[in-house]
C-alpha cells in the first residue's frame, strides 16, 4: 500500500560553465536521486551567424569562415567548401592537389581524434593522463600543419581549385617519421585504456544507440559506425581520389560509448595507412588550377559532403551569378549526432550522462556556427 517513491526530482544545470561540456554547451538534467529522468539540450552560446555573414563575402573570402566553425578540423571543412564551389563552378583539381588534400584531411582526422579520445577519457575520470599523451602526439601533427599552411589550428590552406601553396621539401620526411612512430603510440594508448577494467566498467553498455535509432536520427561518423552500420563517405561516395587508396572501415558491436571509443582508435590506424599510400604515390604537376579572384559561378546550387572526423560534413552553396554566394549552409555533424542525447542519457546516472556527452565528441563551434 506504500505509494510510489515521492523523492523530489530536481533540475541540475550541467551548464555553459562546466569542466566537461567541451565548450559552452548547456544540458539541463532533471535528476531523481542519482538517476537522470530528463535531459534537455540548450545551445546557441557560440552562435556567430557565419552563414549570414558568408552571403556578403566573395567565394574565396568565405574560406576562413570554414576554419572557425569546427576549429578542431579546419582542413576537412576547407575541403568540403572547396569541393562544393568546384562542383558549382565546374572546376577540376589537378592530381597533386587532390593527393595533398587527402593527406591533409587524414592528418586532420588524426589530430581531431586524439583530442576526442583524450577528452572522452577525461570524462570517465582518468584525470589528464591519456589527454596529455594524446595532445603530445597531436602537437606533432600540428607542427606539420604549421610547416605547410603557417597556422596550427585554423589553417586556411585549401583554395578553390586546389591548395594555397605546394608542400615544402621537409614536409615529406617529417610526415614519414611521424607515420613510423604513430602506430606504436596508438597501440600503447589502446593497451592502457581498452583493457582497463574500470574504463570498461564505466563505458561498456553506457549510452547505447541501437542501429535503427542511429539510422533514423541520421547520425554519422564514429557514432553511426559504433552502432554497427558500415557507412563511410570515403567508401560510399568517394571524392578527391579516395577510391585509389585501400583502407578498412571499423564498426562497433552494440553502439555503446566503448564501441565509439575503439572505432575512433581504429580510424587513427586507417588514416595512417591512407597517408602512407598517398605519400608514396604523390604525383607531380601543379598543385592547383588558376581561378579568377572574383569567381562568378553560374546560377544554380551544389551540395558536397566530406567524411569529417565527426561524421558527414556537408556544404550547400547556392549561386545567383553574383560574386558572393546567395545561400551558404553547413551540415553540422556534431549537432545532428547530439540530437540523440536525450535517448542516450535518460535512465543512466549523472556520471553516465557526462560519459555519453564525451562519447559523442561535440565541437560547440560547429553546433552553433
Amino acid at each position: 500500500m506504500t505509494s510510489p517513491i515521492k523523492s523530489e526530482p530536481f533540475v541540475i544545470n550541467i551548464g555553459p560553465q562546466h569542466p566537461s561540456t567541451h565548450g559552452v554547451f548547456r544540458m539541463k538534467v532533471t535528476v531523481d536521486g542519482e538517476q537522470v529522468v530528463d535531459a534537455e539540450m540548450v545551445i546557441g552560446y557560440l552562435h556567430r551567424s557565419m552563414e549570414k555573414l558568408a552571403e556578403e563575402r566573395t567565394y574565396t573570402q568565405n574560406i576562413p569562415f570554414t576554419d572557425r566553425t569546427d576549429y578542431l578540423s579546419s582542413m576537412s571543412n576547407n575541403l568540403g567548401y572547396c569541393l562544393a564551389v568546384e562542383k558549382l563552378a565546374g572546376i577540376d583539381v589537378p592530381e597533386r592537389g587532390q593527393a595533398i588534400r587527402v593527406i591533409m584531411a587524414e592528418l586532420q582526422r588524426i589530430a581531431s581524434h586524439f583530442m576526442a579520445l583524450g577528452a572522452f577519457t577525461n570524462d570517465t575520470g582518468a584525470w589528464q593522463t591519456p589527454v596529455m599523451w594524446c595532445l603530445r602526439e597531436r602537437e606533432k601533427v600540428l607542427d606539420l600543419f604549421e610547416m605547410t599552411s603557417g597556422a596550427r589550428l585554423t589553417c586556411n590552406y585549401m583554395r578553390i581549385g586546389g591548395v594555397a601553396f605546394d608542400i615544402p621539401k621537409d614536409f615529406e620526411p617529417a610526415t614519414r617519421k611521424l607515420i613510423k612512430t604513430l602506430p606504436g603510440f596508438i597501440d600503447e594508448l589502446e593497451g592502457l585504456l581498452s583493457g582497463n577494467e574500470i574504463f570498461l566498467a564505466r563505458t561498456k553498455n553506457v549510452a547505447v544507440i541501437p542501429p535503427d535509432l542511429a539510422v533514423n536520427a541520421s547520425l554519422a561518423g564514429p557514432m553511426l559506425r559504433g552502432s554497427g552500420i558500415a557507412w563511410d563517405l570515403r567508401k560510399a561516395d568517394p571524392y578527391c581520389g579516395y577510391e585509389k587508396y585501400d583502407f578498412a572501415i571499423p564498426i562497433g558491436y552494440q553502439g555503446d560509448s566503448y564501441d565509439r571509443f575503439i572505432v575512433r582508435v581504429e580510424e587513427l590506424r586507417q588514416s595512417v595507412k591512407i597517408i602512407e599510400q598517398a605519400l608514396d604515390g604523390l604525383p607531380g604537376g601543379p598543385h592547383s588550377t588558376q581561378v579568377p579572384l572574383a569567381l562568378r559561378p553560374p546560377k544554380g546550387e551544389a551540395y558536397a559532403r566530406v567524411e569529417g572526423p565527426r561524421g558527414e560534413l556537408g556544404y550547400y552553396v547556392v549561386s545567383d551569378e553574383g560574386p558572393s554566394p546567395y545561400r551558404f549552409h553547413i551540415r553540422p555533424p556534431s549537432l545532428i549526432n547530439l540530437s540523440v542525447l536525450k535517448e542516450m542519457t535518460v535512465g543512466g546516472s549523472v556520471a553516465d550522462a557526462i560519459v555519453a556527452l564525451g562519447s559523442v565528441d561535440i565541437v560547440v563551434g560547429e553546433i552553433d556556427r
Binding site: F10, I12, H18, P19, S20, E34, T121, N122, D123, T124, G125, A126, W127, Q128, T129, M132, W133, R136, E190, L192, S194, G195, N196, E197, I198, F199, L200, A201, R202, K204, P211, V215, R225, S227, G228, I229, A230, W231, D232, L233, K235, A236, A248, I249, P250, I251, G252, Y253, Q254, D259, I262, V263, E266, S349, V350, A351, D352, I354
Partner: protein, 423 residues
C-alpha cells in the same frame, strides 16, 4: 619484549630521538614545578612528530611530490617555476590560498560552513598520536590504538557532509550524499581486514604490532596479502582518491562538496586530504610493512628515517593510482564494496583464525611456521580474488576490445553471436 638496545643515555645518539627528549625532560623535571614536565613532553612530542615529519612531508611530498610525479606520468614537467625545481611551490600555494578571499554564499548555513573545515582538520592532527615513529618515539602508546585510528578516521566523513550540506548548492549536496554513502560502506571491509591483523598479533596497540613483526622477522603484508589489498582499496575509498574520488568528481559534479569553498577554507580541505592520505599511509606501513623496523637495519640507520621513507613509498601507491586509473560510478563502487570486498574480508578472517588456532595449539608458536602460513596465504589470496570474481560472473575474455573491420560501405552488419553471452 621492550626494545632497549637503543636507549643509550648519551643524548647526541640520534638513532633514537627519545634519548634526546628524555635528557631534556629529566633536566627540566629537576628545575621546573610539578606539572610543567607533562606540558613540555607534549610539546616536544608535537614538535618532533608534527613539525619534523608530518608538515614537511605533507607539503613537499603531498603537494610538490605528487604534482611532479603525476606530471611525469603525464609526460610533462611538474611545477618548476617557483624556486629551483619548483621546491617553493607549496609555500607559494599556501600564500596564494591565504591571500585569496573565501566567499560565503548568501543562502549558505554560515555557522555549519565555518565549522566544517575546523572539524576536518582536527582529526588529521589527532591521527598522528598513535603512530610509532621509533622504538620509544610514540606520542601516546594507548592499548586501543587501532580502534582509536578507526574512530578518528570516521570523523572527517561527517565534516565533509557538513561542508556539502551547508552550501545549499546542488553539486555540493550530490558530493555530500555520495561521500557519506561510500565512506560508510567501505568502513566495514576496512575494519574486518584490520581484524585479521589483530587476531594474529593479539594486540590492539600499534607499537606491539611493530615488535611482533620484528620478533618474527616477517612483515604482516606477507602473512596477510588479502588484508593488505582490502586495506589499500578501502582506505583509498575513505580518502576518496582515484579510482574512487567520486565525492569531488571534477568531471561530473564540478568540485563536489568543495564547490563553494575558496581561499584558505578550500586550502584546509586540500591540505588535510593529503594529511589523511599520509596518515593512512603511515598506518598501513606500521600495520602491514613493519613500521620502523627493517630487519635489523634500524640499529644503525635511525628508526624514524626508515619509517619516513616507507611512508613516502606507500604514499607513492596513492599517487600512482591517481595518475593512471579512471573513476568508478557510485553504484559500481557500492556493489564492489558489498558484493566483493566484504565476502573477501570475511574469508580472510576465517583463514587467519584457523591459522591462528593451528599455530598456537599444533605448532605452539614457533617461528618457521609463520613463513609456511605466509606462502599459503598468498596462494589463498590469489585464488580467492580470481575465484570470487568469476563467481560474480566476470568474464574478461568475452569483451571484444577491437572493432570489426569491413571493406565496403553498406548497411547494418549484424553482430555474429559471441560464444555464450558474458555477464
Amino acid at each position: 619484549m621492550r626494545v632497549q638496545f637503543l636507549a643509550t643515555d648519551n643524548w647526541y645518539d640520534l638513532r633514537d630521538l627519545s634519548n634526546l627528549s628524555s635528557a631534556i625532560l629529566d633536566g627540566l623535571d629537576k628545575i621546573a614545578p610539578q606539572g610543567v614536565v607533562y606540558v613540555a613532553a607534549a610539546l616536544i612530542g608535537f614538535v618532533a612528530a608534527f613539525l619534523i615529519f608530518v608538515l614537511p612531508s605533507q607539503l613537499f611530498v603531498g603537494v610538490l611530490g605528487e604534482r611532479k610525479l603525476i606530471g611525469r606520468i603525464q609526460s610533462r614537467y611538474g611545477p618548476n617555476r617557483v624556486g629551483p625545481y619548483g621546491v617553493l611551490q607549496p609555500i607559494a600555494d599556501a600564500l596564494k590560498l591565504l591571500t585569496k578571499e573565501s566567499l560565503t554564499p548568501v543562502a549558505a548555513d554560515r555557522l555549519v560552513m565555518y565549522m566544517a573545515p575546523v572539524l576536518f582538520v582536527m582529526p588529521a592532527v589527532l591521527m598522528w598520536a598513535v603512530i610509532p615513529f621509533g622504538p620509544n618515539m610514540i606520542f601516546a602508546d594507548i592499548p586501543v590504538a587501532l580502534v582509536y585510528f578507526l574512530a578518528i578516521s570516521s570523523l572527517p566523513v561527517l565534516a565533509s557532509f557538513m561542508a556539502g550540506w551547508s552550501h545549499n548548492n546542488k553539486y555540493s549536496l550530490f558530493g555530500a550524499m555520495r561521500i557519506v554513502a561510500m565512506a560508510i560502506s567501505y568502513e566495514i571491509p576496512l575494519v574486518l581486514s584490520l581484524l585479521g591483523v589483530v587476531v594474529l598479533t593479539e594486540t590492539l596497540s600499534l607499537q606491539e604490532m611493530v615488535f611482533w613483526q620484528d620478533r618474527f622477522d616477517i612483515w604482516l603484508f606477507a602473512v596477510q596479502p588479502l588484508a593488505m589489498i582490502i586495506y589499500f582499496i578501502a582506505v583509498s575509498a575513505e580518502l576518496n582518491r582515484t579510482p574512487t574520488d567520486i565525492a569531488e568528481a571534477e568531471s561530473e559534479i564540478v568540485a563536489g562538496y568543495l564547490t563553494e569553498y575558496s581561499g584558505m577554507k578550500w586550502g584546509l580541505f586540500y591540505g588535510m586530504d593529503i594529511g589523511y592520505a599520509l596518515g593512512a599511509a603511515a598506518f598501513g606501513v606500521t600495520v602491514f610493512f613493519g613500521g620502523w623496523t627493517l630487519f635489523g637495519l634500524e640499529e644503525w640507520v635511525p628508526a624514524w628515517m626508515i619509517f619516513v621513507v616507507k611512508v613516502w613509498a606507500f604514499y607513492f601507491l596513492f599517487i600512482w593510482t591517481r595518475g593512471t586509473l579512471p573513476r568508478l560510478r557510485i553504484d559500481q563502487l557500492m556493489s564492489f564494496a558489498w558484493k566483493y570486498m566484504l565476502p573477501l574480508a570475511l574469508f580472510n578472517l576465517l583463514i587467519i583464525c584457523t591459522e591462528r588456532i593451528l599455530w598456537t595449539d599444533a605448532f605452539d608458536g614457533d617461528k618457521p611456521f609463520i613463513y609456511l602460513f605466509a606462502i599459503a596465504n598468498i596462494i589463498f589470496a590469489g585464488l580467492l580474488i580470481l575465484g570470487w570474481a568469476r563467481l560474480l560472473g566476470y568474464r574478461p575474455e568475452r569483451t571484444q576490445t577491437r572493432p570489426r573491420m569491413v571493406q565496403e560501405a553498406g548497411g547494418y552488419v549484424p553482430v555474429a553471436p559471441a560464444r555464450g553471452e558474458g555477464r
